[in-house]
């Protein structure tokens, strides 16, 4: 069954010298997304901002960095089940990630977004102001795939998150 739900997540971004970011290890329950050489985003479940920030600061050992809670900047939708890849093909020109865990930056429904593939689920992230757009695109573009909408849930990166 193909399912979609709005997933709550915490997003903490860290800007620092690339070499410093290479040393940051995401804590258990968090997913590391390298946005750019000098920008790392840690994504975890709801309400984890403080913990993530503390962890990153510890990994950076006091080195200079800009760490910001960007949770409210993003809206995340989880797509899982048989046909999740087909659903993604309706929304993005890039192929769905072939393996897990994976992080891809691409346009999703014509909006600059990010994709986290983990634990059998595709988490699609778009800027919060266009959350309604991705929601309607998911339902309209993928309706014939038997997509079922579930109540709001939580981002779960799985055991093998990077």
């Amino acid at each position: 069954v193909l399912e979609v739900f709005r997933a709550d997540a915490t997003v903490v971004v860290c800007h620092a010298e690339p070499a410093l970011l290479d040393a940051v290890a995401p804590p258990p329950g968090a997913f590391a997304c390298r946005i750019a050489p000098d920008e790392l985003a840690l994504v975890a479940g709801r309400g984890a901002a403080q913990e993530l920030e503390t962890r990153v600061r510890a990994d950076l050992s006091g080195e200079e960095a800009t760490i910001v809670d960007q949770t409210d900047a993003w809206a995340m939708f989880a797509v899982r089940g048989e046909g999740a890849g087909d659903a993604f093909r309706r929304l993005s020109a890039v192929p769905p990630p072939a393996a897990e865990p994976a992080f891809v930056q691409c346009t999703i429904a014509h909006v600059a977004g990010k994709v986290i593939a983990t634990d059998g689920t595709l988490y699609l992230c778009v800027p919060a102001p266009v959350a309604h757009h991705l929601h309607s695109r998911l339902l309209e573009s993928c309706g014939d795939l038997g997509l079922r909408e579930l109540p709001r849930g939580v981002f779960e990166p799985g055991e093998h998150a990077p």
Partner: protein, 856 residues
């Protein structure tokens, strides 16, 4: 019994029927009327190449009846005949041909000037191939993106063999056919071979077959759009095998477009696949390897067959359909009575897609498209080879038909050989020029039938290189605009976190850049007076917001802004301009230093995205260690404004908000109604104001608390425009132009006089030394009226500027405006006229010029 409706007539359909076969069985012989001359047209190719069977199916014009399955309940309409397709009075145009020579619309009706505008609607109504229902919105089509290893276009023997070979090797294969694979083939070796390959392919899990899916173009990449019945697939394969087969040679001779004239494979398909004899007596013209098979198939279907050699056919005759042909004999010519003329003249590659792919190494042809008329064995071998060796570069031998001397060369656009003769005499002496002038090859078949004849025409006249193939462009098959726009969603509105709150209280929303924002909530005056006399709130969450951190943050901002940044103490804020390299204003906003050495900078709503890119580009260019975090989406912002703003806000806030604790142009962090906020004291609307910047996820909570604080009325953009105009505050983009300097808008004070380098400094300093010839000024009108925005300013009948913003001010009780004014006779005028009203030029804000209300 299942049936379709043809022009109100019920027609039974059988299993395997196409719309064309069902209609033909029911006795329909005229399927359409031609583009220009309204000639009767009947079934011809039955392969989806010619325009003769285009009909309207369920409201969609231009549907190919020969390749559209008949389904119960379909409504089929033949188009483009007056009063009907069967008896079309406009067919008289064929006899009036001399009045409408090729390109007549370029030459005639040029004088008088109104002649062409009057004639054009009539010409457009008379010509064409069908009508679109312009009142009906096209259905939105979805698109998907596919990335197979190998895409095979065409599921004939060669295509299926290629797909099987690639799939066997373990590659992901996508194969698309515009019909049902093998279904078009008459019983025989090719069909048997295709069915066997199809069975093998279906057993493969790594091969996907798209039926009724038409590849319409090949772009670099390669990228191939495939239009299917439900979806448009945008395919980006690693390799493409084009196995689109061949189409039979179109015959061009007098009477060649009469109903009853068939291409050989089409006639055989009607007889052997659909089981319907195309006629009673057929003259089969040919000399190709398939001619004998065609004749035999027709004879088996019960037709009396007369064989005629290629070149001996002189002309076809008949009034509304074929009744006889004239053929050359040893002693002269002979007339043969018949109702069917079958042209078995050989094959030409259906190579439109392959020609589009010239120079793209990952695209290769297979089967008839490179070896026209090849045997099933050879086709299969060619397909396997193409699938495994990606760049064979094979192309069909360039064989052109004998040049024709009469007849309709281009069936789609109704172009006769005589029309090309005239065009040639007029100087259009190459295939490309003739194509553009006479529109030959530009119709639905995209030259599949007539391209070779066009080249042959040019070559016969000594065309040489000008007889080269014309450029093939997508789409090779007709598509709808809905197909072209599949998957596209242009209007993506950005919404603040308060969007639903605005709608819930009746806001009228308007577009501001990419955002949807409240224009008003209902009573504009109530909103206005709430700000001027009470308290009001506004959602300003769309403002651009950047967090600037990093070791070089201060130095970086010092070079980005023309004002001095280093002197802004924490807790203070500064209004600042952004200039480009030319010294012109590109945006404005606030600089708010934070306690930890970082900076919080705001940008205008429209300038947020460009502003971020502007900051990033310069940071990279200068190689500075700067962290730029776009906080626009993460933070909401609500402006609380009005004389009672403090009174409402203070009880909700955990920090004092009096003038001592938070004076004008200061900031502090505090909790308001339980929501952590950065409170910035500003005055864009000219009253005591507090901007509350907060996590966007808490916006609704904060908004509700403010509204519940008592007598708080929200205001929208329309009132904001008036309020800021009264205060004389500019809107970047509305009151500024591309070359607006700070001095021109009276903001020179925002540029540090003795500041070091910053973006635009060089040009700013140069421009500052030049006296102003124009500037932004205020206009005060004696009455309540104000001219429209854009109205010119006049002095003694001379235009000296224009209005950029104007409103009638309730509090001032007269009209006001901002306007660009230039010098007149060496000085700036003190009075001007605008929109029929006289106005006094004023400097400074119209409302509260001392700023006492801001600092209240």
């Amino acid at each position: 019994m299942a049936s379709i409706d043809l022009d109100g007539r019920r027609i039974e359909i059988r299993e395997g029927d196409t719309v064309a076969s069902a209609l033909f069985r029911a006795g329909v012989r005229t399927f359409s009327r031609s583009f220009k001359y309204h000639r009767a047209r009947g079934l011809y190719c039955l392969s989806g190449d010619c325009p003769n069977c285009l009909v309207n199916v369920d409201g969609v014009p231009g549907v190919r009846a020969c390749s559209t399955p008949a389904t119960d309940g379909q409504r089929v309409r033949r188009e483009h005949g007056w009063p009907s397709v069967e008896r079309d009075l406009l067919s008289v145009l064929w006899r009036l041909d001399r009045l409408f020579p090729v390109g007549f619309y370029y030459k005639m009706l040029a004088h008088p000037r109104r002649a062409w505008p009057a004639a054009e609607p009539i010409v457009r109504r008379v010509a064409g191939l069908g009508r679109v229902d312009r009142a009906a919105l096209p259905p939105h089509r979805e698109a998907r993106h596919l990335h197979p290893d190998v895409l095979v276009i065409g599921a004939g023997v060669a295509g299926l063999a290629a797909a099987c070979a690639a799939a066997k090797r373990g590659e992901q294969v996508l194969i698309a056919d515009e019909g049902e694979p093998a279904a078009k083939l008459p019983p025989g070796a090719a069909r048997t071979r295709a069915e066997a390959l199809l069975a093998r392919l279906r057993a493969r899990e790594n091969a996907v077959l798209l039926e009724r899916a038409t590849a319409v173009g090949v772009y670099e990449g390669p990228l191939v759009p495939i239009v299917g019945p439900d979806l448009v697939s945008i395919v980006r394969p690693r390799r493409v095998v084009v196995a689109t087969g061949a189409v039979e040679q179109h015959g061009v001779f007098a009477g060649n477009d009469l109903p009853g004239v068939w291409l050989g494979r089409g006639a055989v398909r009607m007889a052997a696949v659909h089981g319907i004899a195309p006629g009673r007596k057929a003259v089969v013209v040919g000399g190709s390897p398939e001619t004998a098979a065609h004749a035999e198939a027709l004879a088996r279907a019960g037709l009396e067959v007369v064989a005629v050699e290629r070149g001996h056919l002189l002309s076809a005759h008949g009034r509304r359909r074929l009744s006889s042909v004239r053929v050359q004999t040893a002693g002269g010519s002979e007339r043969i009575r018949c109702d069917t003329l079958v042209l078995s003249l050989g094959l030409v590659p259906r190579d439109g897609l392959l020609r589009q792919a010239d120079g793209i190494p990952a695209v290769v042809g297979a089967g008839d498209v490179v070896l026209p008329g090849c045997s099933p064995d050879l086709a299969a071998e060619s397909g396997e080879k193409a699938a495994l060796t990606p760049a064979t570069g094979e192309r069909a031998e360039d064989v052109l038909p004998e040049p024709a001397s009469s007849g309709v060369l281009c069936l789609c656009e109704d172009v006769k050989v005589s029309a090309l003769e005239l065009a040639w005499q007029e100087g259009f002496r190459s295939t490309e020029l003739l194509k553009r002038y006479a529109t030959v090859t530009m119709g639905p078949c995209q030259g599949a039938l007539c391209h070779g004849h066009l080249r042959s025409f040019v070559r016969a006249r000594g065309g040489g290189t000008t007889a080269a193939a014309t450029t093939s462009r997508p789409p090779v098959r007709p598509i709808t605009l809905a197909d072209a726009a599949a998957g596209v969603h242009i209007q993506i509105d950005q919404r603040t976190a308060l969007h639903e709150r605005h709608l819930a209280i009746g806001a009228t929303m308007e577009w501001i850049g990419a955002w949807k924002r409240p224009e008003r909530y209902g009573d504009l005056l109530a909103e206005y007076w709430a700000v001027r006399r009470g308290v009001s709130i506004m959602d300003v969450g769309t403002l651009g917001k950047l967090m600037i951190g990093g070791r070089d943050a201060r130095e970086f901002l010092e070079r980005m802004y023309p004002c001095t940044v280093s002197t802004i103490a924490p807790a203070r804020v500064r209004y600042a301009l952004l200039l480009n390299e030319s010294g012109f204003i590109i945006d404005d906003g606030l600089i708010c230093p934070l306690d930890d050495g970082r900076y919080y900078c705001t940008l205008s709503t429209g300038g947020a995205e460009q502003g971020e890119a502007w900051f990033r580009n310069w940071a990279q260019y200068w190689g500075r260690r700067v962290d730029i975090v776009n906080r626009t989406q993460a933070l909401g912002a609500i402006n609380v404004a009005g004389p009672r703003a403090r009174e409402i806000l203070a009880p909700l806030c955990d920090a004092p908000l009096d003038n001592e604790a938070l004076p004008f142009m200061r900031q502090l962090e505090a909790v308001v109604a339980g929501v952590p906020c950065r409170i910035i004291r500003l005055g864009f609307v000219g009253e005591l104001s507090y901007e509350l910047h907060h996590p966007a996820s808490r916006s609704e909570e904060l908004w509700d608390a403010l509204l519940a604080a008592g007598d708080v009325v929200p205001h929208g953009l329309e009132v904001l425009r008036l309020l800021r105009l009264e205060k004389g505050h500019i809107l970047i983009g509305q009151d500024t132009e591309f070359d607006t300097t700070p001095a021109k808008v009276g903001l020179q004070a925002l540029v540090g006089a003795d500041k070091g380098d910053f973006v635009g400094k060089l040009e700013h300093d140069r421009l500052s030394a030049i006296p102003l010839d124009r500037k932004l000024v205020g206009l005060r009108f004696p009455g309540a009226a104000a001219p429209v925005e854009g109205a010119p300013l006049l002095v003694d009948g001379t235009i000296v500027g224009h209005v950029t913003s104007s409103r009638s001010s309730p509090v001032l009780e007269h009209g006001i405006a901002l306007a660009w004014l230039r010098q007149h006779h060496g000085a700036f005028p003190g009075t001007v006229a605008a929109g029929g009203l006289s106005a006094t030029v004023v400097n400074g804000p119209f409302y509260d010029p001392e700023g006492a209300r801001l600092r209240a």
